[in-house]
């Protein structure tokens, strides 16, 4: 199946663009690169793209939280992005951080945000132009919009109440079973217990993509997220991982490709849950049960 016919099959085909589309339309959109590797943008990026650093720019630097509405408005101005602009996000690691930035932008209700299907690696694999030149960003105004923490974001007490409804752990299998918390010679990654939130289905984030890092077709995705789990697409969903980046990727799949209306990302994820006093944890292959 061609990439464009795959895209047209998704619930919201307008949020994904192909590399070819971006090459043709780069002048009419704001391109934003968001990578895990903090130096990758400097090595070379899509012409016209600005750099967005997830670690220092999207997060509050003191408390564990995202920017305030005023800080987000400042950030957008710094990047030369107008509230009405179409933003196209892409990045390394199959768009983990691009989808994470997408999710943060949606906390502030930026309307037209899109993901470059296949991300940075597909653009480069196709031999498309890259540059080391950072674009000039024009002066823009961006309104202060309060962050909406209710619609697409889940907090720990909400996750506790959610147990029993569709809950998806998108980490790797050894992280889910609890056998891997940290590795030999390696400092603990920041959780004191291994395992998963009881009843969570294990669907590693990478289940959603093909070898070229573009998303699988909608039928294949339905089979993975609904048929194999028995989850009802009309139900409420929560996804989580370690710090909320890989689960942004799966959140994007559920909401925009599969059309799940109510799906939230639990950004506290395992680095919070695995340290919380008194919450239930399941260990091993099975989702486990939780009796209230």
């Amino acid at each position: 199946m061609s990439e464009t016919s795959r895209i047209s099959g998704y619930a919201h085909p307008d949020v994904l663009v192909t590399t070819e589309w971006l090459a043709q339309n780069s002048a009419s959109v704001k391109i934003v690169e968001c990578d895990e590797d903090v130096l990758l943008y400097e090595v070379g990026h899509i012409p016209g793209a600005v750099k967005l650093d997830w670690h220092t720019e999207l997060n509050d630097q003191d408390k564990r939280d995202y920017l305030t509405g005023a800080q987000f408005a400042e950030l957008m101005k710094l990047k030369g992005i107008d509230r009405k602009d179409t933003i196209v996000l892409y990045g390394d690691r199959s768009n983990w951080w691009a989808t994470y930035a997408f999710w943060v932008m949606k906390l502030f209700g930026h309307e037209d945000v899109r993901i470059l299907n296949g991300g940075r690696s597909k653009w480069i694999a196709e031999g498309r132009e890259i540059t080391k030149e950072a674009p000039e960003t024009g002066a823009v105004e961006y309104p202060v919009v309060e962050r909406d923490d209710k619609t697409i974001r889940a907090f720990r007490h909400e996750v506790l109440e959610h147990i029993g409804k569709p809950l998806i752990d998108v980490r790797s299998r050894p992280e889910y079973t609890g056998e891997r918390l940290h590795m030999p010679d390696y400092p603990n990654e920041g959780a004191s217990r291994g395992g998963h939130i009881p009843t969570a289905a294990s669907i590693p984030w990478s289940s959603a993509i093909l070898e070229d890092e573009t998303f699988k077709d909608v039928e294949a995705l339905r089979a993975i997220y609904f048929d194999a789990t028995g989850f009802d697409p009309s139900d409420d969903f929560v996804a989580y991982c370690r710090i909320g980046e890989r689960s942004s990727h799966s959140w994007f799949v559920l909401k925009y490709l599969l059309g799940v209306k109510n799906v939230r990302n639990y950004d506290g994820s395992w680095t919070e849950w695995g340290n919380l006093v008194g919450v239930p944890i399941a260990v091993g292959e099975e989702p486990g049960v939780f009796a209230r």
Binding site: E36, D37, V38, L39, L40, E42, V43, H55, T56, Q61, D92, S121, M183, P184, D185, Y186, P187, E189, G190
Partner: protein, 142 residues
Amino acid sequence: MNSNAQAVVDDFTFLEERDRLQLLLEFSEQLPALDARFGENPELLERVEECQSPVFIAVEGNLERVSLHFSAPQEAPTTRGFASVLNSALNGQSAQEILDLPDDFPSMLGLDRLISPLRVRGMRGMLSRIKRKTREIVAAGI
């Protein structure tokens, strides 16, 4: 800390925070290419599991002089930068000087606020593996 390592720390901490990333980028560009014999004998290299990017190291030599070898992909410049920093600080030093480098060396570069903690830990992983392999050289009394 040996004088090479101290010079690297001084170079980083002398700069404003934002410019430290630029210096790390320059280090990444200066990472020596891997000796061809490792390409033919990949078993001589050890994977650094702590890094999410595929990074391989080899530690060779004797008590007086230890040489280090690194392999990291071009698409992982931060990891390459860390490898190159360790290469500058430790390559060619004696086994004792390598073991004497503080485990906290990665944090002495003043990058912790700029780079996510997990990435800095990847550098600690590289360092602890270099030290472990150096201890093997010491134990063998080569």
